[in-house]
């Protein structure tokens, strides 16, 4: 019984992995069906995740955490709006919340990233004042000057230099990393198909 319990997930993963691979390459209808099932399972997993989020924050709310209270309240309000949208009492309630609350908040947080990166850059020089840190700062200065409207030949020189660095060194480095990532992804996928990596079954 124990053997079956251990082997069944492995067999299922192998069969569906091979089927999905063949489907993606040669039989689109199989791939479409399997990805549809995967999408359904992912939706159920998301629901489990949301229940976990609600449970954790409800416990914190009981202990007096105000932020958790805000989360529980907002989550309940959006679920309620979804329900009223569904039965026709309201129209576009959930999309209005996303448009007027979620999207502006996300944009506001994203706009702070530049400052976080600037401080991180300063800290890297303070913490590791070596050749690489100096190179980092020199590159930042060249890119900033290249994107600043400077007059005449000086401006053109920095634009040319920053474009040269972007097109040659940055592109080459990025492509190298991306090729490595793609090869690593192939190796991991084959390991999962072979049953060597089993994150679903210890």
């Amino acid at each position: 019984m124990n053997q079956i319990k251990r082997s069944l997930p492995l067999i299922l993963a192998y069969v569906f992995g091979v089927l999905a691979l063949i489907g993606l390459l040669f039989v689109p209808v199989i791939a479409k069906t399997l990805t549809g099932w995967a999408g359904f399972l992912a939706a159920i997993a998301l629901l489990i995740g949301i229940i976990n989020l609600l449970t954790v924050h409800s416990r914190r709310l009981v202990r007096g955490n105000v932020y958790s209270g805000v989360l529980v309240l907002s989550l309940s309000a959006v679920v309620l709006l979804g329900a009223t949208d569904y039965i026709g009492l309201t129209t576009g309630g959930v999309s209005a919340v996303f448009k007027h609350v979620q999207a502006p908040l996300e944009a506001a947080v994203a706009s702070m990233l530049a400052f976080f990166l600037l401080f991180s850059g300063v800290r890297i020089v303070q913490r590791r004042p070596n050749g690489w840190a100096i190179l980092f700062i020199v590159a930042v200065i060249i890119f900033l000057l290249g994107r600043t409207p400077l007059p005449g030949l000086v401006g053109d020189a920095f634009v040319g230099l920053s474009d040269f660095l972007t097109d040659v060194f940055v592109s080459a480095g990025m492509r190298g990393i991306l090729i490595g990532i793609a090869l690593g992804a192939i190796a991991v996928s084959i390991r999962v198909l072979m049953g060597t990596d089993r994150p679903y079954n210890r």
């Binding site: 390459l25 976990n52 954790v56 947080v109 690593g184 190796a187 084959i190 390991r191």
Partner: protein, 252 residues
């Protein structure tokens, strides 16, 4: 059924890679002592896990917001693999690790792994459901980043392991951990996230190194063979690029 040249080439590449992987796995089974290039971040991961247990402060392990059902799957699988190898050590201490995920599938898988670790340690009752936490859906990256920085700011953790699929929201997470003076190890398959990581910690797992987590932390023959396979494929790609460049130079 539709046959195309690109699909056939892809299948051929996968089949050849599988054959090489099987052959190398058998080879390394009979020759177990294989030296791996030193990756400082993987040595630091093991040190940090041990130190966090000793100090009584847990580890915060973030698995990213990549879904197991999408193209980000390999990075998420690599993160799960690292968690699988570390969670037993992390769960041995008084303070349980905190595992956060930005995707439902990843969250469910992480819960299963952590529960399994407690079962292997012979204390299934010690598992708490809050040990793994779903933080925010993957399509809201800034919400995910802000939620993690809130968790880190509580000061309950001794180290911050961030492995998986992240984007620019990593800046928020890394900044929060830096403020708390936590040791950090960051690995991602995203170039923006890697650029951010390089500016906050020396322990960065860059690109393909992320997929080597199992080889460095577990060291099974199949994992080492897969590293070798990556090297072979990389050499083939490099030769192909060189030939293509030479041909285009000659033909014009």
């Amino acid at each position: 059924m539709t046959f195309s040249t690109s699909s056939s080439i892809a299948l051929l590449l996968i089949l050849i890679s599988t054959v090489i992987l099987v052959y190398l796995t058998r080879l390394y089974r009979s020759r177990p002592s294989v030296g791996l290039r030193s990756v400082e971040a993987y040595q630091a991961i093991q040190r940090q896990a041990a130190r966090a247990v000793e100090s009584g402060r847990g580890i915060h392990f973030s698995l990213g917001r990549g879904s197991l059902g999408k193209a980000t799957n390999p990075a998420s699988l690599a993160a799960l693999s690292a968690l699988q190898n570390l969670s037993k050590d992390a769960c041995a201490g008084d303070k349980p690790p905190m595992v956060t995920a930005g995707d439902g599938t990843l969250f469910v898988a992480s819960q299963d792994l952590v529960r399994g670790s407690y079962e292997e340690l012979g204390r299934p009752g010690a598992y708490q459901s809050q040990t793994s936490m779903f933080v925010a859906p993957g399509n809201s990256p800034m919400t995910y980043g802000a939620s993690l920085s809130e968790i880190i700011n509580k000061g309950e953790h001794g180290s911050n392991l961030v492995l998986g699929h992240f984007g620019s929201e990593l800046a928020l997470i890394a900044e929060a951990a830096d403020r708390e003076q936590l040791e950090q190890i960051i690995g991602s398959d995203d170039l923006t996230a890697l650029a951010v990581a390089m500016s906050v910690t020396e322990d960065v797992i860059i690109g393909e190194e992320l997929y080597a987590a199992a080889a460095y932390l577990q060291g099974e023959p199949a994992h080492i063979a897969s590293l070798q396979l990556q090297d072979i494929l990389r050499i083939l790609v490099a030769i192909s690029i060189l030939i293509a460049a030479l041909v285009s130079l000659v033909i014009g």
